[in-house]
Subunit: 132 residues, 2 copies
Amino acid sequence: MRIGEVAASAGVNIQTVRFYERRGLLQEPPRLPSGYRVYQDQTPALIRFIKQAQSVGFTLNEIRELLQLRNGRVGNASQLRSIGEAKIRALDDEIQRLIEARDVLSQLLNACNCSDGGSECTVTIGRRERHL
Amino acid sequence: MRIGEVAASAGVNIQTVRFYERRGLLQEPPRLPSGYRVYQDQTPALIRFIKQAQSVGFTLNEIRELLQLRNGRVGNASQLRSIGEAKIRALDDEIQRLIEARDVLSQLLNACNCSDGGSECTVTIGRRERHL
DNA sequence: GTTGACTCTGTACCTATGTACAGGCCTTAT
DNA sequence: ATAAGGCCTGTACATAGGTACAGAGTCAAC
């Protein structure tokens, strides 16, 4: 497979494939005499894995480390598991943070004394005056 | 107040204050003959408002619009309210997305047959084989 | 009257994740 | 054999939100 087919099959841009190679997520593939990259059949699946890992919150740097562990020989399953557990905790924290932000904003809107004729939009929540 | 005092009082970098000015979040303040910026006493509170709005998910561009509306004369309260409600919906969507990501990852770890001696870490969720 | 702290402008750099373009080869079909 | 399309490298640009630095002017205290 050449790069165009890989990109189309994985649903990404050609530039993205080369970008992942530069970042060390994809190994440098062999080349034709012309310099064209030649990929194995499983490369699109690997790219889809990268996209899926991204969608659950991993950064490309973290994914590169996951892939290095996965390609390693022994003793890596428990490391993978602990990385995954750490990411779940990070997601929980972020979810909690967003829920709190949502509630602050919601209270602000509910408690607000705004009206189109009023000169200002002011409300007090907790000890502090807040505006929107 | 000069810029250093404003920045310290608001808990941000001096560069950040100038950055907000360039982005139109802070109006250009009057200057001393030397060119030094002179701020009003409420400027640190305005910067803290910006930081708070950021923390509940508004971007700087959105905050600039909020501030323009807030400084406007009439008929803006309902606009402010609908912007706030839209942001709440966006937060709800993002929270939902993260919860789903968290669950995918959690199922992956629970269902995984990994062990340090095993050659690979593979599990099937739904119709697709997934790895971590 | 000099030192040290503060401020000015302009520009460059940073993370993260790509996307786009220029200029030049390569391949394939007709 | 030629035109269309694919691929190569290198560089620049994009977003969002800052941070840092260079070189110069200013202010206040001793």
